[in-house]
């Protein structure tokens, strides 16, 4: 199973189907932590055969762009609609990854998304966990999908 490619395929399908946006992959990063340059992050816990977390990290411009496209309106501030929309992106990407893991014989359960607002935070935790981060470009703005699991 190529987890990085599965994240790419899962995320691209969500954006092309629900937002009519074709994403470009900028970079796939494996195995190292670091600062996350994001204003809004939505996380979903994974359980059962695979334990970990999937996170969508977005700067404000991307988060507002996604929400505006979802709702068909201009979005000017990071509010409940934005938190809700990024949570749904995380939910759908995780749902697609669940299918990929199932095809590899791993059954996973998804929690309900949790969304936080902040700036430049660092993630840590779970010793021995694998970490894969994919950076995407959406209309020249960057955002990241991070998967930590073991």
């Amino acid at each position: 199973m190529n987890v990085g490619q599965d994240i790419i395929d899962s995320t691209k399908e969500v954006f092309s189907t629900m937002l009519m946006i074709e994403l470009e992959v900028v970079e796939v990063i494996e195995g190292r932590g670091g600062d996350i340059p994001a204003n809004i992050t939505s996380m979903i816990g994974l359980g059962k055969d695979i334990r970990g977390m999937l996170a969508v990290h977005c700067p404000a411009a991307v988060a507002k762009g996604i929400t505006g496209t979802f709702l068909g309106m201009e979005v000017e501030e990071i509010g409940e609609d934005v938190k809700d929309a990024i949570g749904e992106i995380a939910n759908m990407v995780a749902g697609n990854l669940k299918v990929s893991f199932a095809e590899a014989g791993k059954d996973i359960e998804l929690a309900i998304p949790t969304t936080i607002i902040g700036e430049s935070f660092r993630t840590s935790g779970m010793s021995g966990a694998q970490r894969v981060v994919v950076q995407f470009s959406m209309n020249d703005d960057l955002f990241m999908i991070e998967l930590k699991f073991r």
Binding site: E13, T17, D84, E88, M92, A94, G95
Partner: protein, 123 residues
């Protein structure tokens, strides 16, 4: 069309997207009702004349499976069809939903065409 639909999802954004997809698919309901979980959905079903329900599975308070189970015990609403619309696609959970009366399932992400393909024949 003269029909009413109830959208059940804890995400208000997703409820708006589904509502828009129904319109884009040419499925013009008279009224689109919304609920944020199974508990709210049961309240709407008891009060309003709903023809079909589109429900998520993973929701707080009362999830889609518990909603189906509770609905199946209430005489006045148990025969209203429910279509699941969820990231959950596993045979086990969809099978459980169908055993509790769900008439089908749509996987998120979805297109208006997919909504029409699955929902259209049920109306």
């Amino acid at each position: 069309m003269g029909k009413n639909v109830l959208l059940v999802d804890d995400s208000s954004t997703m409820r708006k997207i589904i509502g828009r997809s129904l319109r884009q698919a040419g499925l013009d309901f008279d009224n689109i009702f919304e609920a944020g979980d199974g508990i709210e959905a049961l309240e709407v079903l008891e009060k309003e004349d709903i023809d079909i329900v589109l429900s998520d599975i993973n929701m707080p308070n009362m999830d889609g499976i518990s909603f189906l189970r509770e609905k199946s015990t209430r005489d006045g609403i148990k025969d209203i069809p429910v279509l699941m619309i969820s990231t959950e696609t596993g045979d086990d959970i969809i099978g459980e939903a169908k055993s509790l009366g769900a008439v089908g399932a749509i996987k998120k992400p979805f297109t208006p065409d997919k909504v029409n393909e699955v929902l259209g024949p049920l109306l």
